[in-house]
Symmetry: D2
Subunit: 336 residues, 4 copies
């Protein structure tokens, strides 16, 4: 069986989706829709055998299409995904899943009711580095998790419809959902816009959990240098993930502290330091998106739940929404 | 005239103070006090001509001492500095100035009343990189200031008496007081302790100002790698300050955005990008502490106000105190 | 007038040549030849309107083709380029131009005789960094040139037909031909093969000039890390070119020495040090190969000499040949 | 038994020797000599109990001195060390051991005849990184050694008496003597002076061995940036040693090639690539010179041969001398 694919949106990310589905075994790319003439012309030049259409509804109505990938601005995700599901199509939707949690819940419901696969394109969860971090958490190699601390800044594309949190922090929130076994309880976020009439271009987000684990994400569209640096601290080992390193993206440090009760004061601990080797594991080199499109096809065929399913997409949207709310309150924590 | 110096405390930082005063023209090191026998033995071996005493009061009482440097834990700063001022000595006190703002105000008052020099050892304000940043702000080279964003983490010495904010963030707060012309209005901070019975070992602090400028400081004693990276963003240029770089500690980027009103929507701006040269100015190579001890002597002799005077020390303590308060409220902003 | 292009060879580099000519204004891609069936199938899938042929002679014979790009192993360059020129086609030939200097001279002659454009694909000469270095040499910004020192190593593709010099050092030699105004006089090279039956996989090459300028190139296919670092030292300034830096590939240091005659000894100089700012100029972001294919078309249309013409290609081949000869003599210098 | 130490020379390196002997258990610093009044004044201020003398002969003649450290320019090493040995003193001599091989051989003879310890101050052999490299070679972790490739450049102190090889390459040659089990056979070196009347300020040296191992050293006093980067390639693993890294100075890569005989051609090998983890071992943090002064005392007391004995010092001098000779012949190899 071949899964026949339609893609809605051929803007920034759509071409990557299309290129990967074109090379995914078991998938066949059938149609692409985009509102812009030049984008459709591009599709036609690059993929002569594929239908390029203006109206996404033609894709939903097409009887030769089994699954739809939606790569449009976040504001339209809900409506398009809903239409696709109602037309009986499996759906892969660009992140963030929807503009609010109610919409995400509705899509999950709709997919479940119809027995359709609903997957969110949280690409980072398919990278070698993030999968290795998850593995180290699950095997206990890192010990108890202490913190996740991410710096994700660059001179970026200001967006008009969403703030920097929905554009950049969404990556960290999906990694957190994927890697961290604890449950987020509340969010505190602050941010600022430096251009009147545009959404916040920098933000600092803290997520509190049901354990002594804390996550912090620093995102900025107005930084002079590009930085992608994440620390994941545990009681046994600590990892540094730098996505811009050409090789050795993930470094694992056998470092930490040891604590012994202080003889003087019962409530106080004596803290010692442990310092050992550093280790950069060899990571899988496959393009994350290629792994992801294969996974989408596998889930459809095997009727299994995707790694980045609707529930994970919802979890990310809930934190994004709470962060935006906290930001309006200058950092006051908002419960999840 | 030679200013005769007594130093209280020969622990972690005291030896640096002593070494620099020993080489400062116009200063003469006379006595050092420390409670620990081994520390006094060290002083005697290294500086045969200098009195080593157990009791700081001997230093305050000595008629051949004009000025006192206090390099003890923060909890004792107030009491010792007050005693020194009351004994008619000029005072250089280690940072943070005091454990709370009331104490700092009292010391300022006491020094003013007696016409004595009161200076706080905010060493970073005497480094070539920070002085160049201040210069670029003052000449308008950076344009309107947008943000200050600092990552200051390492596997650090856990302290029992103060949390990581009072140990590490104090550096950034002094740089902010020194470099930024805006007035801080409120602070939001979150933090966490991973060792029961010890203060917070990581913290994220945001300072709000009376302008569209925002400051963020990320400090952590439990990081596997040492990072000292500060971004200072302005409307014309942006700087990256990396204190661990052996050379080119400060890089200035001729990058930013341009904004024009959108023709479609009156409230929206079209954002464009500017990208130009990067420039790493040659920085003064003098040891900051050496510059600082000279400045202390100059202020005493010339009866001028130090760059890092009591008022700046107080400003820093006020933010530290507000940050600790906000931290107890999980990030709720605390007004200054 | 549109220049109609045929490309011979669709292996490692050919696809880049084809892709760039496909987007070059004034050029029209007409045919591609490759001996391998799968490569031709790839061409047909990617460029439906283009002829894919097994035999390069069909390209030379085609009356609708004006110019030919040759992207085959170096051993076949001479024969193919000669056939193309004799068929009246302009020629862009992959670097190194030929396997020996006599072949290169013959091609230059043949092209001149027929009034055809002959260009060598020394892509680095079209990068922003190398063009900026040339500009700094020409304007005198670097002062008198002292040395060129390049480290170009990685875990690389061992080749069977050529040694590491012909694969990696060829880049540095073309940069030297392009940037340095002095005349090379002799070459000393040493190298070693660590796999019996394969050519040298590491080599160290020194080029002597008719001035106190010296060039050194260190190439290695067996290095655990990829390094691309070039120092260009002058009497006024010095540049560091790191092609792996995502931004700031070129850094210019206002550093150097000052010399004054020693009072004691007439033959001796007192050497002082100058240390100033570092500056990373904004570089043109255009893909080098795209600039190069446009330049090829412009040269054909305007009947002008290419920047990387046959003479430069010959200069590079002469040094490559001399280096291989010196290598066989364990470093004995070979005159050019 | 306490070994009583005299130090000759208190210029650039002498103060480090003195400071370390002052803290070495089993050693007692007795006297320091220097021709310059200000240097002797410095000694007296820093070490009140120690004799400071103008004439080294007083040190050799002193009956309360057992061992002498010589930290003077290389031109005087032979004469001073010889006088010390003849006076019955054990000798630690600064590197390079002597100005030529005959002198080094004579010192070895003289020390042997008298049963005295003769050690050369090749400090790098006492660093954690170099000792770990030696260990990895000895345990076979790196496999067969392929190459040693070192880049050691900076804007350095031009010296009038020796060229850059004797100043900088001496470090690499001592590491090679220490780490590499193969026997050096010949040297090819080229260099250049850019200041008339001063010795060569840059040089490229290649050392050939009695095995398919090759060493290359690139040294330069006129580089705009400081680089200390060494690659050590083996058949099983490869190491990168960067002495400027604050931590992780040594990185070990589980990378390399695999070779299988080509089915087509009996003389040709098919080369494949292996890529695995990277590992940065925790290194001993002790100051190398402190380890070295202890080792000197231990060798004197136990009558054992130092790790960096006269024979190693001689080996280094032989290569330095051959390299200087080859340099005069523009790279012609000189047999050892």
């Amino acid at each position: 069986m071949t899964v026949k694919i339609g893609v809605v949106g051929y803007g920034y990310w759509g071409p990557n989706i299309v290129r990967n589905f074109a090379e995914t075994p078991g998938a066949q790319l059938v149609a692409v829709s985009d509102l812009r003439d030049d984008k459709r012309a591009l599709v036609e030049r690059r993929y002569p055998g594929i239908r390029a259409t203006r109206d996404a509804r033609e894709i939903f109505a097409a009887t030769d299409i089994d699954a739809v990938a939606i790569a449009t601005p976040v504001g339209s995700h809900y409506e398009l995904a809903l239409a696709a599901l109602r037309a009986g199509k499996h759906v892969l939707v660009e992140k963030p899943m929807t503009a609010d949690a109610a919409q995400a819940r509705h899509l999950i419901e709709e997919a479940e009711k119809r027995g359709l696969t609903l997957m969110v394109d949280h690409t980072f969860c398919y990278t070698g580095a993030v999968r290795k971090m998850k593995e180290m958490v699950e095997t206990g190699e890192l010990g108890d998790l202490y913190y996740y601390d991410s710096l994700r800044v660059n001179l970026g594309l200001f967006q008009h419809d969403v703030n920097v949190i929905w554009d950049l922090a969404v990556h960290d929130l999906s990694i957190l959902e994927f890697v961290v076994p604890h449950k987020p309880l509340a969010v505190s976020a602050v941010g600022m816009s430096h251009v009147p009439g545009t959404p916040e271009n920098l933000a600092y987000i803290t997520v509190f959990y049901d354990s002594p684990f804390i996550a912090h994400v620093n995102v900025n569209w107005l930084a002079p240098v590009k930085v992608r640096k994440t620390l994941l601290g545990g009681s046994r080992k600590m990892a540094v993930y730098d996505d811009l390193e050409p090789s050795e993206k993930l470094k694992v440090y056998d470092k930490g502290i040891t604590t012994t009760p202080s003889p003087e004061q019962i409530y106080q601990m004596l803290v010692g330091y442990r310092s050992g080797d550093m280790w950069a594991p060899q990571l899988a080199g496959t393009e994350a998106l290629s792994l992801e499109t294969r996974h989408f096809i596998d889930c459809i065929k095997g009727k299994t739940q995707p790694v980045t399913d609707g529930a994970m997409g919802l979890g990310v949207v809930e934190i994004l929404a709470a962060a935006s709310q906290s930001m309006a309150l200058r950092g006051q924590p908002v419960d999840l």
